[in-house]
């Protein structure tokens, strides 16, 4: 092989090893210690993991992460796909709609979080709208009520994500062969049948990409929760990532934080490997 190929292979490998694998290994070894950032780390064996098992906040965070993956992935894909189908037609002003829906994507999640915090404030737009619609009974302190706070944050995250999913699906729909759909229409297939039997199968490769993107996006969610609730009220909205951050960097409980990080890493790896295995099989 020519030298240039080796350079192109080795440089990213070295960068990856130094910036990703080496710190990950360190994180792994740190998770078996108790360390407050100063002095020497004290080895505790599996102690951190045992503590995690009995830590109510960790269990909440784990459960919230499951809710998050399902809610965030499910809602943003369903709504994004619906919007894409709805807006995949020529027409006046359709570009404007598309742009408006994609617009939230240009804000960072942290900014989205701050923006929605204002909407959710006790005299904010959400409560005001409910009141104006005569639904005053539904008014609440959205981010201060442990029963709804996680879902309130979820809505904000989905609001931002649907535009992205929509654009991916719009691109996919461009590749759908219209003659197949016309043929099916001639054969008497109704709109729903045409969508499920003709269009969706052609979107399979896009679905694969979107599955991977949403799962990884939902596992790495951190900033919007941190910006909106910091895991509160009383730890009810913690995700694994925010709890890791709080333990590791707010409380400087680095061993314990590392143990949580290892759990996140393990979960992400399981998803990524299963995705890779699936897509390799499909290629065969």
């Amino acid at each position: 092989m020519p030298l240039i190929v080796w350079v192109f292979l080795l440089v990213p490998l070295v960068v990856e090893a130094f910036w990703v694998f080496w710190p990950a290994m360190n994180s792994f070894s740190l998770s078996f210690t108790r360390w407050n950032g100063i002095g020497a780390a004290e080895p505790v064996g599996l102690g951190n993991y045992q503590d995690l098992m009995s830590d109510p906040t960790f269990q909440t965070a784990l459960r919230n992460n499951v809710i998050w993956v399902i809610g965030f992935g499910g809602l943003s894909v369903v709504i994004g796909l619906a919007l894409a189908v709805l807006l995949n037609r020529p027409g006046r002003g359709i570009g404007l709609y598309r742009a408006a829906i994609y617009l939230p994507m240009v804000f960072s999640l942290a900014v989205t979080g701050l923006f929605w915090r204002v909407l959710y404030s006790p005299d904010g737009l959400v409560n005001f709208s409910l009141d104006s619609l005569g639904l005053g009974a539904l008014e609440r302190q959205w981010l201060a009520d442990p029963d709804v706070a996680l879902y309130a944050v979820l809505v904000a995250a989905v609001w931002r994500q649907v535009g992205y999913i929509m654009v991916l699906y719009l691109a996919g729909l461009k590749g759908v062969d219209p003659s197949l759909e016309e043929a099916a229409a001639m054969d008497g297939a109704n709109r729903w049948q045409r969508f499920t039997r003709i269009v969706m199968p052609q979107l399979r490769s896009v679905n694969g990409v979107i599955f991977a993107v949403t799962v990884i996006d939902s596992l790495r969610t951190f900033d919007i929760v941190w910006a909106m609730t910091r895991g509160g009220p009383y730890n009810s909205t913690h995700l694994l990532s925010t709890y890791m951050f709080e333990q590791g960097f707010t409380l400087v409980n680095l061993g314990y934080g590392s143990a949580i990080a290892v759990v996140i890493f393990a979960l992400a790896i399981v998803f990524i490997i299963s995705y890779l295995v699936r897509s390799i099989r499909q290629e065969d």
């Binding site: 990703v20 710190p23 990950a24 290994m25 360190n26 994180s27 070894s29 740190l30 998770s31 108790r34 360390w35 407050n36 950032g37 100063i38 002095g39 020497a40 780390a41 503590d51 960072s108 999640l109 942290a110 959710y120 404030s121 006790p122 302190q141 981010l143 201060a144 009520d145 442990p146 990884i216 596992l219 790495r220 951190f222 900033d223 941190w226 910006a227 609730t229 509160g232 009220p233 009383y234 990532s241 890791m244 951050f245 709080e246 590791g248 960097f249 707010t250 409380l251 400087v252 409980n253 680095l254 934080g257 590392s258 143990a259 990080a261 290892v262 996140i264 890493f265 979960l267 992400a268």
Partner: protein, 442 residues
């Protein structure tokens, strides 16, 4: 949050932390725990010694005071500094998270803003703080500071590691004009206080402002004061040091009393931060606020002279009077390559003139620690604050400063839970004790 103005070169660790603050992928987050393994820190600390030969460049001040007014005041002070110094302001959350990284890095900031108390002592015990004992002797900048401040600024080995520059008192703040309008006056006794709350509530006003949403530690303000008034400062300190259990009947009595206040709090307090809770008070929709004197800067300028305060009235007549007076100031990294310049900057910041300038520009009602500051030109509110602290028998700091940030997290959880649903006090206290034991065990 985005108040970071980095002027120092970003270290690899700083970059990783910054990356995490921006919320990177779960994968990167998964790697973040690796921030400096023990071995790595070891090498960096020896690296520190190697580089401590030649002073180079300006003395840096790492500043965590990111509220606009104190930030401006400190920037003005550094601007006027005759020597070579630069300031680097970081939002307090991030500052707190990175403090240990700053102090252990090969090229630490020379001077850092911080509070007196347990955190400073922990770092001093690890040898990370510059010994400034000579500043407390002879002609030193802190030589005339009070003995209480000296005690507060000392490490466990008796050396001084902290330079206090201002402190503030906690009390119940209210607006004179609003009290006049409602025809009420500051209460003398606890019964009067509860009656006043009831009276105000009857007028459709929220008697007690509070902001425990993004600042849940504000729930500890009333906990501290009720504990000081019911069980006394001695018990309070011992409780926070782990010598008593949160399941004690004494603590239960504190929450029983706290329960009486719950109907009087602003119903939106769980959505507000401590700054936001001022807004309804500005509009006379809430009446009183137990908070530190820094609250004055959140009021519009034309209302600041209207503010007055009264101390939380006595509940148990057998305990000595006590007030909370958190002390702010600076410490320096032992890894500085320019200890002389660092101490010069500290002395400048501690001087009577600097303290006066800081208090004037920041518009806060903080009190100077330097006995030579001419306080006669200060507002009547500040004069009254000085009087309050001079006449009290005991002084405490605040929950986290008297204990630790980790214990504060347990209080945040327990107390906000309690405020939302006070029906099961024993259950809440058991959960609190269990969480506190995990902290004390570490």
């Amino acid at each position: 949050m985005n108040t970071t103005t980095r002027t120092s070169p970003v270290s690899r660790r700083g970059f990783l932390l910054g990356a995490s603050a921006l919320g990177t992928s779960g994968l990167l987050a998964g790697c973040l725990g690796s921030e400096g393994t023990p071995e790595e820190t070891g090498t960096e600390q020896t690296g520190t010694d190697e580089t401590s030969s030649e002073p180079s460049g300006p003395v840096t001040l790492q500043n965590s005071q990111s509220d606009p007014a104190p930030r401006e005041a400190l920037e003005a002070l550094i601007g006027d500094y005759p020597g070579d110094a630069e300031i680097n302001t970081v939002a307090i959350e991030q500052f707190r998270a990175q403090l240990s990284t700053y102090l252990t890095s090969a090229n630490p900031p020379d001077v850092l803003t911080w509070y007196a108390g347990s955190v400073a002592r922990d770092y001093a015990a690890e040898g990370l703080l510059l010994d400034v004992s000579d500043m407390w002797e002879g002609e030193g900048a802190c030589a005339n500071f009070s003995d209480a401040l000296r005690e507060l600024s000392s490490a466990e080995d008796g050396s001084q590691i902290f330079v206090p520059t201002n402190y503030y008192w906690w009390s119940i703040f209210y607006k004179k004009s609003a009290f006049e309008e409602w025809g009420v006056s500051a209460p003398e006794t606890w019964e009067d206080f509860l009656a006043l709350c009831e009276d105000l509530k009857g007028r459709g006003v929220s008697p007690l402002a509070n902001g425990i949403g993004s600042t849940p530690w504000m729930a500890s303000g009333w906990f501290d004061y009720l504990n000081l008034r019911i069980n006394g400062a001695q018990y309070h300190r011992e409780l926070l040091a782990g010598e008593h259990a949160f399941t004690d009947p004494e603590v239960e009595a504190v929450l029983e009393e706290y329960t009486k206040l719950i109907p009087y709090f602003d119903p939106n307090m769980a959505s507000y931060s401590y700054q936001e809770a001022v807004t309804p008070m500005v509009q006379n929709e809430s009446a009183m606020y137990l908070i530190g004197a820094f609250v004055t800067q959140f009021f519009p300028e034309d209302q600041r002279d209207d503010l007055d305060f009264f101390s939380v009235p006595p509940i148990n007549p057998d305990v000595p009077s006590a007030e909370e007076a958190p002390t702010d100031g600076y410490f320096a990294a032992s890894g500085t390559d320019n200890p002389e310049g660092t101490k010069e900057l500290l002395a400048y910041l501690a001087s009577a003139e600097s303290q006066q300038t800081f208090i004037e520009i920041s518009g806060s009602s903080n009190l100077p620690t330097h006995p030579d500051v001419d306080t006669s030109s200060f507002s009547p509110l500040v004069q009254k604050g000085i009087e309050l602290l001079n006449s009290t028998e005991e002084i405490t700091q605040f929950f986290n400063r008297d204990s630790s940030d980790a214990l504060q997290a347990t209080a945040d959880d327990a107390l906000t839970r309690f405020l939302a649903d006070p029906s099961d006090i024993p259950g809440i206290l058991e959960g609190w004790q269990a969480a506190a034991e995990r902290v004390w065990d570490q």
